[in-house]
Point group: C2
Amino acid sequence: MTSEDLLAVLAAMGHGQRLRILAELAAGRMYVSELARRLGISRPLLYMHLERLEKAGLVLGNLELSESGKALKYFELAPFDLHLNIRTIRAALAADTDRHSDMQGNPR
Amino acid sequence: MTSEDLLAVLAAMGHGQRLRILAELAAGRMYVSELARRLGISRPLLYMHLERLEKAGLVLGNLELSESGKALKYFELAPFDLHLNIRTIRAALAADTDRHSDMQGNPR
DNA sequence: AAAGCATGTAAGTGAAGACTTACAGATGCC
DNA sequence: GGCATCTGTAAGTCTTCACTTACATGCTTT
């Protein structure tokens, strides 16, 4: 995990609304409009938050067709469990510089 | 831990410079000017970041007098280890509403 | 056809955050 | 005294973020 990944997660979570979105999705998958109604926020705003959460890998979006044929975009929680301590931070920062070195992934 | 506390930590950590500050302090306590030189950032900027980290409880500042009598503000890492998952998030949000109920801490 | 509900995006506004330059006060050393 | 080094803060700029309003599109049901 690079520091970029770590930062994406931290920044995504570091916001009240998005914390509430995650908590709401813990109850189960839900499509956007329904989620917006439950949280009492506007849909475009929710969209922005969901985008950010998805980029951080915390939620997963999926456009589906209901039985009646109506398009619904379902979001669900992605499983995550990050041990946030100084060790994790140092490892993430170290991973950045390591990307410059060769022979990673497929060393002979 | 309330969501306010959690958000303070997440928002404080969700920034590259501050992540680097924490990593640098992992090597040991250091005073502000020295830390600024090591990181290559301006002192006022570092100040702002340290303030934020301190409010989140991630670092600890202490103004001391050196042997020669010069004032130095030392910062050190506060031990932290946060398990970041959906359970923690829900617990934090739940703690918010619980603050309105009585008999917490010392229930008879 | 019209109304209802869904997705998706664009444009604009207002507030918060990140950063710089600058200045003031205090002490130690030459 | 004058220079170096440290702390602390104020003011100003600039960008990013959060949020609203509005509009275009598509399918369903009445």
